[in-house]
Amino acid sequence: MGTQLVLEKWPAAISTVIIGATKDEGGSRSNIVKIGGQTSLPLLFKEGDLPNKPKIAFEIWDIPPQDWQEELISAYGKAINDPFAWAEKCVNEFKAQLLCVKMQGAHPDSGNKTPQEAAKFISALLNKIKVPLIIIGSGDDTKDNLVMPVVSEAAKKERCSIGCAVQDNYKTLVASVLADGHSIIAESPIDINIAKQLNILISDMGLSLERIVINPTIGALGYGLEYAYSIMERARLAALSGDKTLACPFICFVGQEAWKTKEAKVSVEQGIAWEAITATSLIQSGADILVMRHPKAIQKVSNFIETLYQG
């Protein structure tokens, strides 16, 4: 007699978020990226629908990166000194389907670009590359509140995902995203209570929960990965049991965390492995978007996803 599988049925689903709008929808993207929509825990194909694979977004900046290691920079060659060439290289050479652009150049310590300069950059980028965009602020709240509304407007109708809203600073970003038709990235510091609270605050402003992507904040392998893993798992369990306020897809900023570690700095091979292992672990806890840096790590994780989803 064969072993009977014990299958769990969940009453609820993770919401589906679409990034990118094609011409038909008023945008100018060549493709769209769909995430979420699961009705089971990650990779349990027999228990429910997993309609969308996890997606990888290449992380690029609006300026040449300042604190990236030489090994990481050399993977992109000279192109990295020109953000547009860098973006094109990701799309043309590495076949990126999704880009995550960080508006680091607007940070007061990194060039202090004006909101208008930032908006101009985004408009030009949207002209040059046709894949959907995730746009992230510089991390300086005061400056981001000036820059991001203008950036959001410059990308109007392109259905980007824009972040990061945090508990103490979300109103400006929510208002912009609401007006310009994007989705929002809601960031909480590895804290499920705050993740839930922030989603409630955002939805109270009129942005539906279906337009929120949760950034649970992660740690790389050896640096708190398991904390992030368990928070994501717990949120997923609650969401699938019917908690709408947590039923949002996850975005994980893998590259920035993995390449911060001293282990990644030892050698480029170890760095790539560190980034890939961090990413693959998070896929198993429910990550929907992985923002990554090294093309080789991205290639490994893409292959991993394809293998998993062969069924």
Partner: protein, 265 residues
């Protein structure tokens, strides 16, 4: 927690009058108000004073269905009235209720199967109200056994231990609470449990303690594993206590506005 709103009951003069005068608006107002406050289903009871329960029950069902598709708990001691309600129902239904007496089970279990309805079984019999936990569990087991023998899914069975008023049967409260836990282990899969909450505070309204007694008892019952309750969902403090009790039992994730979060569900 599956919450069944109790307010559409001919025992209340306003509802009795609305039934008598066929005042749809009044009934629908109570239906929507309870759903707004968090009811997952509505109890429908034309009251003992109703002269024509066989007509009143389907009228109530049709009236409520015009404004909601929430499940309806057809509440009558007369199986014929329940049957008329089932015939009129498009919404999901819960039969409220059968006792452990064979003559009731023989009619209501087949009806529940025929109409794909859930069924509430109260642990009383022709011999009267049970006096302790053991008698309750015995009656519950009789109901479960009958359902199993007749192919009624036990997951759709709700067992009610009969909540008695605190001012009448104070000594039985612990028996009632422990029965809730024991009902769950009668069979696998477990039957569900339900209580008619407001009974516990009967006669205390004049001292203005009924609401406090209701919410304290409910909180305790939730800790004993209660699945469902027939209660007044418009009692905000009661609902807040329920949500908080479930939070403490780790059924919902805490956040600063957890009460609002629960209500957004």
């Amino acid at each position: 927690m599956f919450i069944i709103g109790e307010l559409i009951n001919g025992m209340y003069p306003e509802i009795a009058l609305a039934i008598k005068e066929r005042d749809k608006k009044m009934i629908q107002k109570y239906a929507l108000q309870q759903i707004d406050c968090g009811a997952d289903a509505l109890d429908v009871n034309c009251g003992t004073a109703s002269a024509k329960p066989l007509l009143d029950m389907p009228w109530l069902v049709e009236t409520i269905q015009e404004v909601t598709n929430k499940p309806l708990s057809l509440d009558s001691s007369k199986p014929e009235a329940i049957k008329e309600g089932l015939k009129a129902a498009r919404n999901k239904t819960i039969i409220n209720s059968t006792t452990a007496d064979p003559e009731k089970l023989e009619i209501l279990v087949p009806l529940a199967k025929q109409y794909n309805s859930k069924l509430i079984g109260i642990t009383i019999s022709a011999k009267g109200i049970p006096q302790n936990k053991d008698q309750r569990v015995e009656l519950a087991a009789a109901i479960v056994a009958y359902c199993q023998e007749n192919g009624f899914p036990i997951g759709d069975l709700y067992l009610d231990p009969i909540v008695l008023p605190i001012n009448v049967a104070q000594g039985q409260m612990i028996d009632i609470l422990e029965s809730i836990r024991e009902f769950k282990i009668i069979s696998e899969p477990s039957p569900k449990t339900v209580i008619g909450l407001s009974n516990v505070s009967q006669g205390t309204r004049i001292h203005n303690t009924h609401s406090l007694i209701n919410r304290t008892f409910l909180t305790m019952a939730v800790a004993y594993g209660l699945d469902s309750a027939i209660l007044d969902p418009t009692d905000k403090e009661l609902m807040d206590s329920l949500i908080t009790a479930e939070l403490i039992l780790n059924k919902n994730i805490y956040c600063a506005s957890y009460l609002e979060a629960y209500r957004k569900k």
